[in-house]
Symmetry: C2
Subunit: 344 residues, 2 copies
């Protein structure tokens, strides 16, 4: 059995380019006892993958050179020598950027397509949704009456943050996004109170106008000038869950002055701000069950909406990933690797 | 009745200077019904006072121009028209930089000199001690086995942080101080495992050698290069309670590049650090009782030691305060305003 694979062959210095990846077929090993063969249907592309491409100390091992790019996927079992899985089962696993995979079934979860569409298990029902849930409620300690601002507001995480904040009784939910259509979407479709563009020269004033009582929680996905604008508006006892820094992933941290750290620390002290980084996997076990029950319910009854941005074909994954880092996706970035038999 | 007063007459731009203050007598009003007249014995000088001198948004009202400098004091009631207080009672109150004060008794607490020496109620048993307790245990979430580093280690707050960490089962307690005698003191007298000097050109390497397993809690009192060194050694899930930024109080935040904020935020994300500012008064009500019981016990049985740095005479308070900001004190900075009758 052959698998079409996207392998990581060269660490990028800035944006991933054509020579970052190599696409080719590889022969999969014959199934051993206890193993399953999975056909990948949905591949999730997520900003964290850029971090893995750097060869530096991080919360996870760097992506190995020459290996298949890692990534979360939904697939279907096409052959099983594992009693826990039957042919035809839908499964969630970290099978990576490829068309087929052999697995011993460890860390593979069976999915019931009647509960939620398959693709959502790597989106709103999956890691991005759980990230939003944990970041807003656990790290962010959101309370009713808070003003919540979230960057990358139309993305997989940000869109859930805002809708969840709305459901939990936020005084105001304000998104920050790039394109105007994204801003319209989060207000008109997702029910945010307002959305401002990080491309605007008046970002800080726009954000201030949208948050007349200041910001209690700024959910940080992007870094850069958006962080500066939000910081300047934080209320006493404000919380900044740091989920991602998309704007820095390609370029690395700029060190061009002025130095903003001393004034940040002064704000932290004066206004008793909390700035806290988190990674969903550290806290997933603790929150997974409540998340699936609660957010699953909101999704089924339509209180939480989601938007997917589907790229067809594994061979287009590298381009789609570069676009994701530039914010060209509009909604959760997915790659449709093969047909989803649950869709009409 | 006349009171000798240190009044705040000019906002300093850097260090407080001779013209920041004015010293003179003022006639106190006659005692009204419900009021007490207090003779001040001990005046506490604390770094936070410098922040109050700036006319900018902060957690407290700026110190008013022309008014007596605010500050925590211990005194004795010399006349009472308030049934809750008798002549001779010792009291704790915010009576400010002066020799006598008239008060209606609100926010004034009676002290039992048998429980602890009077001066300690503005030191190890008072606001600085409680600050250490709250910062280490509540904000810092200290657990047994943590490596704890604390700046301004021989000071009123830092010395309690380190000793409390030792009692609570820290793996390592490392101080950061300026003068060598302060370093020797926290190791030899207070039982810290090590102490490094922030004046050393090899601060970062010294700190690394003292914390071979990294730092779990960095208790921030000073800012500046000490923060950089500690940050670089933080372990995953590390916590930085931000209690003060003494090194910035006079100069204000420098903005000279390179910009360290992006790399800080990247560290926060990658290592899931928590940086949180706190002010003791926000959390005092919640912790005061447990603190007095627990730390009071440690002080009585000698497990927590304290050192006082006494300046004699109210007229020397301005000079003592400038010295405090430069780190010239060695231990808790006090001004002895008048005789303490409980001392031999």
């Amino acid at each position: 059995m052959k698998s079409l694979q996207v392998r990581f062959v060269k660490r990028p210095t800035g944006e991933p380019t054509a020579d970052t990846f190599e696409i080719g077929e590889a022969e999969l090993p014959a199934l051993g006892d206890g193993e399953i063969l999975v056909r990948i249907i949905w591949l999730s592309l997520d900003p964290y993958m850029r971090g893995r491409m750097d060869d530096k100390r991080s919360y996870a091992q760097p992506q190995a050179l020459g290996a298949v790019m890692q990534g979360g996927t939904v697939g279907q079992v096409v052959e099983s020598r594992n009693p826990k899985f039957a042919e035809g089962d839908f499964v969630l696993g970290m099978f990576g950027w490829q068309s087929h995979a052999v697995s011993d079934g460890a860390m593979v979860r069976k999915l019931d397509p009647a509960v939620a569409p398959l693709s959502t298990w790597v989106g709103v029902m999956g890691m991005p949704g759980l990230t939003a849930y944990i970041g807003l409620l656990d790290v962010g300690e959101m309370k009713a009456g808070d003003t919540v601002a979230v960057s990358a507001a139309s993305g997989a995480v940000g869109s859930v943050v805002g809708q969840l904040a709305r459901i939990k009784g936020a005084k105001k939910v304000v998104g920050i996004a790039g394109a105007e259509e994204k801003c319209r979407f989060v207000v008109d479709e997702l029910g945010f109170d307002a959305c401002v563009s990080h491309r605007s020269a008046s970002l800080r004033d726009d954000l201030k106008a949208a948050c007349p009582d200041g910001i209690d929680i700024y959910f940080e996905n992007v870094g850069g000038p958006t962080l500066d604008a939000a910081l300047s508006l934080m209320n006493p006892f404000g919380r900044i869950p740091v989920c991602g820094m998309i704007s820095m992933y390609n370029t690395g941290p700029s060190t061009e002055g002025p130095d903003r750290l001393p004034s940040l620390m002064r704000r932290v002290l004066t206004d008793r701000l909390k700035i806290q980084g988190f990674i969903v996997s550290d806290r997933a076990a603790q929150h997974q069950k409540a998340f699936i029950e609660e957010v699953g319910g909101y999704i089924r009854d339509g209180r939480i909406k989601y938007r997917e941005f589907v790229t067809e074909g594994l061979e287009n994954a590298p381009r789609a990933f570069a676009g994701l880092l530039r914010g060209e996706n509009f909604g959760k970035q997915l790659v449709k690797v093969s047909d989803d038999p649950t869709l009409g």
